[in-house]
Amino acid sequence: MNPTSPESQTGATNAASCRVPFLALFGGGALWLVVGLTLAILASLTFHKPDIFANCAWLTYGRLQPAANDAIVYGFCVPAALGVILWIFCQLSESELLLPLLPIVGANLWHLGVFVGLIEILIGGSTGFPSLEFQRGGSVLLFAAFLLIAISAFATFGARRRRELHPSHWFLLAALFWFPWIYSTANLFLMAWPVRGVCQAVVDWWFCANFLFVWTALAGIGVGLFYLFGGPNDEEATGPDDNQRFLTLFSFWTLILFGAWCGIPQGAPVPAWLPALSAVGAALTILPILTIASVALRAVRTRGAAPCRGGPRCSILFGTAFFVISGIMFVALGCPHIGPVIELTWFAFAQTQLQILGFLTIVLCGAICALMPRVMGFDLVFPRLARVRHWLFISGIVLFAGALAVGGILQGLKLQSLAPFATVTASVLPFYRVSTTGLLFLWLGALLFALNIFGMTLKWKLARLHSCLAWLRAPEETIAAADTAAAAGNGRAK
C-alpha cells in the first residue's frame, strides 16, 4: 500500500487510536502469560519430586495448578482476545476505536481483578470450582471490565460503513455476548446464591464447556476468519465466496447450538438425562469442527500455501489445526463409551490445554504480532524473535499436550484394567516428564512474546519522552513542525 495515499493516512490515525488500550491489554496479557506458565512449571515439579514444596502452603500443587490455569485463561486469553476483537472491528468498520477510554479503564480493572484473584488462590482462598476459582472481588472486577471493553467494541462495530457483516463479525459479536452471560450465571449460582449439592458441579461443567470450548472457539475462529478472508483494506484479500460464506455460517450456528450442550461428563453423579443430552451435543459438535477444517483448507488452497514465517496466517493455520484436534478430543470425551475411560485422566487436561495454549494463544499471538506494528507505527522490536516464538509455541504444545494426551489414554486404560494404583501413577510419569519439557518451550516462547510487547512499549514511551523534551527546549519550533505536518496531511487527505 502506498504510504502517502489518503486511505493509509486515515488508516494510520485509526490504528493510532488503539495504541494506549492495546498496550494495556496486551502488555498485561503478556505478563500474565509468563506468570501463568511459570506457575504451571512450578506446579508440574510436584510430580517429579513430590515433597518439593512440602513446607510451603503457597506453592502446594492444589493452589499452583488452578492459579496457573487462571493466569493463562483470564490473564492472557481473554484480554488478548478482546484487544484483537477491538482491532478487527476497527478494521472492518474502517473507523477509529470509539470510546477508547473504556478499554483503557477496562484493561486496568481486568488486570487488577486477575491479580486479586490469583493472590487469593495462592493464600488458600480459592472457591474450589474448576476454572472459577476467583472469589467475588476478582470476578466482579472481571465482569465489569469485560462490559466496559465490550461497549467500546459495540460502538466501533456500530460505526461501520459497510452494512454487510463479515463472517468474523458473527463469531466475535457472539463471543462478546457469550462471556458475560455464562460468567454471571456461574458466579451468581455458585457464589452469590449458591445452589445446593451437585447442582454446583452441573453449573460449573456448563460454564467450563461454554467458556473453555465454545467461547475460545468463537474468539479464535472469529480472529482466524478475519486473517483468512482478509479485511476490506487488504489487497490480497480474497474474501469468502458464497460457498465459504455458507459453510462458515453453518459452522457458526452448529457451534453455538450444539457446543452449548456439552460438558456434563458421562457417568457423572447426576440424573441420567443430563449426560445423555451432553452426549448428543458432543456428537453434533463434530459438525462445526469439520466444517471449520474444510473452510481453512479451502482458504489455504485458494491463496496458496506461502512458506511459513510466523506471520498471522501461518499462526492461524497451525492454530486451526490444533483446534480441530482439540475439538475431536473434546467430542471423544463426551461420547458414551469412550468418555468414561479417558475423562478423569490427563487426557481431559491435555484437551483443555491444547484448546487454550495450542489454539487460542497461538492464534492470538500471531494476530498481535501482526497488528502491533501497524498500531504503533513502527516494526516489532525483535521481529526475529517473533518467528522463534512461533516455533517454540508449536513444538512446546505438541510436546506438552501430546504427551499428556497419550499418557492420559494409557492411564485410563490401566485404571479400567485394575492394575494397582501405584503402577498407573508410575506408567504416566515418563509422559509427564516430556510434558514438562513442552511447558519449558512454551514458557520461553511466552518470554519472547512479552519481550516484543514490552520492547514496543518502551520504545514508544521513549519516543514520547523525546518529543516532550524537544517541546520543553523549543516549544515554538515543535509546534510549527507539527503544524506543517498536519497541513501536509490535510492537503493529502483532500
Binding site: A54, L165, F177, P194, V203, W206, W261, P269, P271, L418
Partner: protein, 279 residues
C-alpha cells in the same frame, strides 16, 4: 445474517436453550432433593457431617486436593450374586444343585452363607435360586454394583447426586492423579493414619507419589510432657530428637473430613445389598 441484532438473537437463542435445560433444569430437579431413607432401614441419608469435618472440607478446598483426587465413584451397572444361606434337609441334593452352578461347598454349615454364583444377570440368579430351593436349600439374591471403580475397592456403589447434599463447595474433582476419595472414610477410617499420611505419605504408603502437607503440622520442641496429639512417626520421617510433630487444627479438621467421607449405604437410586450379611 444481515446485522448485529441477528447475531445477538442467534446467540441468545442458542445459549438460552442450553441455559434453560442445564442450569435451570438441573436446579429445579436437583435443588429440591432432600434426605432419603436408606433401603431396608429407617435411617435418613445423608446426615450432616460433624462440625470438624465440615471445617475440614474448607481445608480440602483451600489446599486444592481436588486437583489430584476425585470424589465420584463410577458404576457401570448392577449384577446379582446368589448366596446360599441354608442347606435344608437334603444337603446332598443342594450340593448337587450348587455343583450344577459351577461352585463347590464343603459340608461344614459354618461355611454358610456362601456366594455360589457371582456377577450374573437377574434371570440367571432367579434360575439358580429356583434350582437350589427345589433341592430344599435356601438362597438369597444379592444386588452388587459393577465397574472398575468398584472392583478397585474405591466404593460399593456409584456416587449419586444425593451424596453431596450438604457439601459446599462440592469437590467432585476432574483428575485421578490419586485414588478416588468418595468412600475413603470406609476403607481408611483411622484419623491417625490420615494424619500420618498427610504429614509423610511415604511413611504409610511405600513409594507414595502424593505430596506431603507438612505445612499443616508444627514441629515443636518437646516441653515438659510430650503432646498427646504428637504423631508417632517411623524413624526416617521422625523429627530431630527432642522435637515432636503436632497437627494444626486445619490438619485435624481435614483428617476428620476424610474419615467422614462415606458413600456406602444403599439408596433407592443406587441399590445394592450391603456386604455385612455375606462372608
Amino acid at each position: 445474517m444481515k446485522n448485529g441484532f441477528h447475531v445477538f438473537l442467534a446467540a441468545f437463542v442458542a445459549l438460552g436453550i442450553s441455559w434453560l435445560g442445564f442450569v435451570l433444569g438441573s436446579i429445579l430437579q436437583l435443588g429440591v432433593e432432600g434426605q432419603a431413607t436408606v433401603l431396608q432401614s429407617s435411617d435418613l441419608y445423608p446426615v450432616q457431617r460433624p462440625g470438624a469435618a465440615t471445617m475440614g472440607l474448607q481445608v480440602y478446598r483451600a489446599e486444592g486436593c481436588a486437583a489430584c483426587h476425585t470424589e465420584q465413584i463410577r458404576q457401570e451397572g448392577v449384577a446379582c450374586d446368589v448366596v446360599l444361606t441354608a442347606m435344608g434337609n437334603n444337603p446332598a441334593a443342594v450340593k448337587k444343585a450348587v455343583a450344577g452352578l459351577g461352585a463347590q461347598i464343603s459340608d461344614a454349615t459354618n461355611a454358610l452363607p456362601k456366594t455360589v454364583l457371582s456377577r450374573v444377570s437377574k434371570a440367571g440368579a432367579d434360575a439358580a435360586t429356583a434350582s437350589i430351593s427345589s433341592a430344599g436349600g435356601t438362597a438369597e439374591i444379592h444386588i452388587v454394583a459393577t465397574g472398575p471403580d468398584i472392583a478397585r475397592g474405591w466404593g460399593v456403589r456409584g456416587s449419586v447426586a444425593r451424596d453431596y447434599l450438604w457439601d459446599d463447595p462440592v469437590q467432585l474433582g476432574n483428575l485421578r492423579a490419586g485414588p478416588d476419595l468418595a468412600n475413603v472414610g470406609a476403607r481408611l477410617g483411622n484419623v491417625t493414619w490420615q494424619l500420618l499420611h498427610l504429614y509423610a505419605p511415604q511413611s504409610v504408603v511405600k513409594g507414595s507419589a502424593m505430596p506431603p502437607f507438612r505445612f499443616l503440622f508444627r514441629v515443636e520442641k518437646i516441653g515438659g510432657a510430650p503432646s498427646p496429639d504428637a504423631l508417632q512417626l517411623p524413624k526416617p520421617f521422625a523429627p530431630a530428637p527432642g522435637y515432636e510433630v503436632v497437627p494444626t487444627r486445619d490438619a485435624r479438621n481435614l483428617a476428620a473430613y476424610l474419615v467422614s467421607l462415606h458413600a456406602d449405604v444403599p439408596l433407592f437410586e443406587a441399590p445394592f445389598t450391603p456386604e455385612v450379611s455375606t462372608k
